[in-house]
Amino acid sequence: MNALQIKKGSTKHSAYNLRPQFSDVQETHTLAVLVDNEAGVLARVIGLFSGRGYNIDSLTVAEVDHTGHLSRITVVTRGTPQVIEQIKAQLGRIIPVHEVHDLTTEGPSVERELALLKVSGDGDKRVEALRLADIFRANVVDSTLSSFVFEITGTPEKIDAFADLMRPLGLVEMARTGVAALARGIA
């Protein structure tokens, strides 16, 4: 299903929408929103979520097309199927929004998040942190005699798992980017 159809609200052709539209089940969806990179556009998107009482689990935004001045907002949100459809339709109403993609329903997609974790400690804990970082393929991007800053990339779940392991080993600070996501395949 192409993005244009979603923006126009005709979602009924997606097999995913065979699910009951008015069920109470909370679903988590990852939406990719392509917008004009102009002043205030992020405020419009965020304002829509807060004004209408929708959830934001994660949000990332950056310009992805410098010549076309397009930014891509990736937002992970939660709600019943009806609310998710409303969110997409409401996003589609925002004038600078070009496309709304529901990566959760449109087919397989990849999701990645980057996090930086500062772990301080010495002795065995320090060795163990380094060993686990290796298992998780986290890189050391800063090091002192009593601390590391790890850089890790992966799904949010993987980062959660790594953070949980680092906590008893001296995790003192963490920064996460939020989810970036793309559909798999060619188009």
């Binding site: 126009k8 609200g9 005709s10 008015f22 109403r93 004038i95």
Partner: protein, 584 residues
Amino acid sequence: MTRQMTGAKMVVQALRDQGVDTVFGYPGGAVLPIYDEIFQQNDIRHILVRHEQGAVHAAEGYARSTGKPGVALVTSGPGATNAVTGLTDALLDSIPIVVLSGQVPTFMIGTDGFQEADTVGITRPCTKHNWLVKDTNALPGILHQAFHVAKTGRPGPVLIDIPKDVQFASGTYAAPPKGSTYRYNPQVKGDMEEITELVAALETAKRPVFYTGGGVINSGPAASQLLRELVEATGAPITSTLMGLGAYPASGKNWLGMLGMHGLYEANMAMHDCDLMINIGARFDDRITGRIDAFSPNSKKAHIDIDPSSINKVIPVDIPIVGDVAHVLEDILKVWKARGRKTNREALSKWWAKIEEWKKVDCLSYKRSEGTIKPQYAMERLEALTKDRDRYITTEVGQHQMWAAQYLGFEAPNRWMTSGGLGTMGYGFPASIGVQMAHPDALVINVAGEASWLMNMQEMGTAVQFRLPVKQFILNNERLGMVRQWQELLHGERYSHSWSEALPDFVKLAEAFGAKGILCKDPADLDDAIMEMINHDGPVIFDCLVEKHENCFPMIPSGEPHNKMLLGDASTKDAIKEGGAVLV
């Protein structure tokens, strides 16, 4: 064609190029360059209002009565914040207006300058779109795009915030682009598969009902014409929301009257019992649906709306059609004719027989009085004495608004201007000024309550200054009637702050402004007084003293479905249950 000019001149030139003939506004420091340009030309009339809220409502009245975007011009800071209510009103009722606001110069933005407010920030959630113009060269493109956005798709208000240095600086002006070059162009044609499904449902429906709304009027006169053709052709009954009145004529034989909380019994019963509901340009507003889980429980529902977000927002529908009403209706008629113009005639006549029974309930009947003017009687007489004239009605918000909707008949679209979604007290008077500007020879009446009317009474100055013969027909019960009614039904008759002492003498008030005032308190004098109002060539405040404790019926109590209507005072005791009490 491009040429060099100042930003202020661009504003006036763009308005001219967009076909604007009237601007409602109020000057101030941050818009002085634009006002200077307005002073030096004669193509665009500027109407000086007395409060920026009045300017925006007047622009709404102008827009709603013409189908063209209304334009308001306000200064920065308080000028812009005063426009917020009107913008929100226009957003909820999908009225195309363009508001231009001044702003402190770009180099002062963010310094808490005099009369500085974050206008685009404040108005972001109450406009369809807004712009802060930081470069004079970007101004013409934004001005033209603003008109495009305001009137394309689901119409709505837009705001352009123009810093004062951008108005002074020179740049290159370009006329509006020919043809549509804008990316924003929502689809107008409906999905043919869905349209065919709707026609098939219509052919076999036993108890169909058309439920129409303001979208029909926004779609333009062709939509109303096509709607009439479809209704006559299929023989189905039709009801409308408050916003949609006039799209189908009140004298039409299939007309059931308005539906909803204070809608007619037959209209609401038809909605509840139908087997096919065809929603055309309405949005299942809570004033219409009543209790959601008991809303029209046994019907197949079709929904035609240009805004995809309206579909399945409140009520799940079986046949969603995203498109412009006129385009979709045209296709429905085409398909219906091509398939042999079928209807389920036998079932339809049974359905109509049932509707006739409901009509016999005569839900608009009321206890007449010799001594006092019943508000319903005032509306009946106003209708009788004005219906054959070139008439436009605006209203404020409250009981009088519902009585006007119930007792006045609208034969054509764009003749009825009311604040439906936002319910803005103070809307009707300035709106009537906007309507009168657009239709100088028409009879423009604002049916008002005294409390609502006082909210924007300063606009009397505007009416008098510009010789606008707007008639302010005030049903004066010395109460906030609808609030009082709810307190009676819901709060043990504790009338907390729902009456006003120290009301002005409206006749003297009119005279103080240099207008005419008429007082009427005897039903026997009412006709003569109304005629005096109509025949006076100038603005009139008509102070119609009505029964003080009259309640507005019929009524669907909040939290109840359509078939649990209250018809009169006798049935009101404990009508609103605990669950309904939290609703508005």
